[in-house]
């Protein structure tokens, strides 16, 4: 087996490199550099309790913009590749087994709660763990639960597209507002910082995270629906 030998050689090389890196690594004793700055100034500067949120939304906000772009490209790639031609769609209609009554009842009972929980997560992103990405994933999970309970459930595509484009556009617009009214692109301080620790605080961070949450949620739901295929 030549292939296995080559694979083994590659693996041992990688293992050697990893062992070399990990060999003389020791945990940090104290924060330093840019992390020290973020931790000491973050709360007072931006008014966000959750420093990870502060970094994701504001300090490294440009990265988040790029990340949302990658997600959008992946979602539209899935949609384009799995688009069905008319005759093809008619040929592959299959009877799927219906879910039992307990599952359908549970789905219709739980999915509003899950959507509400997702909204709670991205609205509280600056106070507790969570934020746009987690909230969006939770909302997509509610859509997934509906798909599991009703095999031929259909989403409304135009509503989905409108929400997605609107939130993406407004996200860039809020970033530009930060550029003109405050320190830089995606700066959150053009809105008042409010009282530290309440839900309407930290400037524009709740707004930005709500937009990110809507965008991520609709994109993941779109990926799921395209991969499920329209029955």
């Amino acid at each position: 087996m030549v292939r296995k030998t080559i694979a083994l050689a590659l693996m041992s090389g990688l293992a050697f490199i990893l062992a070399f890196i990990l060999g003389d690594w020791s945990p940090m004793e104290r924060l330093s550099g840019v992390a020290y700055d973020y931790v000491t100034r973050g709360a007072a500067d931006l008014g966000a309790m959750n420093l990870v949120t502060a970094i994701v939304v504001t300090y490294r906000g440009l990265d988040t913009l790029g990340e949302v772009t990658v997600l959008f490209l992946a979602a539209s790639g899935v949609a384009v590749l799995l688009r069905r031609k008319r005759d093809e769609a008619a040929a592959t209609v299959k009877i799927k087994r219906a879910a039992s009554e307990i599952v359908t009842t549970g789905a219709s009972l739980l999915s509003p709660f899950i959507v509400m929980f997702g909204a709670y997560i991205f609205l509280n992103g600056h106070l507790s763990p969570g934020g746009g990405f987690q909230g969006g994933a939770v909302i997509a999970s509610a859509v997934l639960l509906l798909f599991l309970a009703h095999p031929d459930y259909k989403l409304r595509h135009n509503v989905l597209n409108i929400i997605e484009s609107f939130s993406g556009f407004t996200y860039v617009l809020v970033g530009l507002l930060g550029l003109f009214l405050a320190g830089g692109f995606l700066d959150n301080r053009f809105l008042p910082l409010g009282t530290y620790g309440t839900i309407l605080s930290a400037g524009a961070i709740p707004l930005i995270y709500t937009l990110i949450g809507l965008k991520v949620g609709t994109e993941l739901a779109g990926i799921l629906e395209n991969m499920k295929g329209r029955a």
């Binding site: 969570g130 994933a137 990926i223």
Partner: protein, 83 residues
């Protein structure tokens, strides 16, 4: 306590990762990778990263398992149809 927790979870993650690669049955492999993601989420929580743990829990619990299952089903359905 925490050291015992981390050691045991690491062992289970390693075994589950090996199982995900070497199991013949694809559904079992997908389930094993879901197990890896579940215990990775607990490890993130132990390493004081609740944000990351929440992301891993929200995505690893349902979404990634279902995406793999859907892809597997799509490559299986047609095989039956086309003999």
């Amino acid at each position: 306590m925490e050291n015992i927790l981390i050691t045991l979870l690491s062992l289970i993650i390693l075994v589950a990762a090996l199982a995900a690669i070497y199991l013949r049955n694809m559904i079992s492999a997908i389930l094993a990778s879901g197990l890896v993601s579940l215990f990775a989420s607990i490890l993130y929580l132990l390493m004081a990263a609740p944000d990351v743990a929440m992301t891993e829990a929200a995505i690893g619990a349902g979404l990634s398992t279902v995406i793999f299952l859907l892809a597997f089903k799509k490559t299986r359905d047609e095989e039956v149809e086309n003999g």
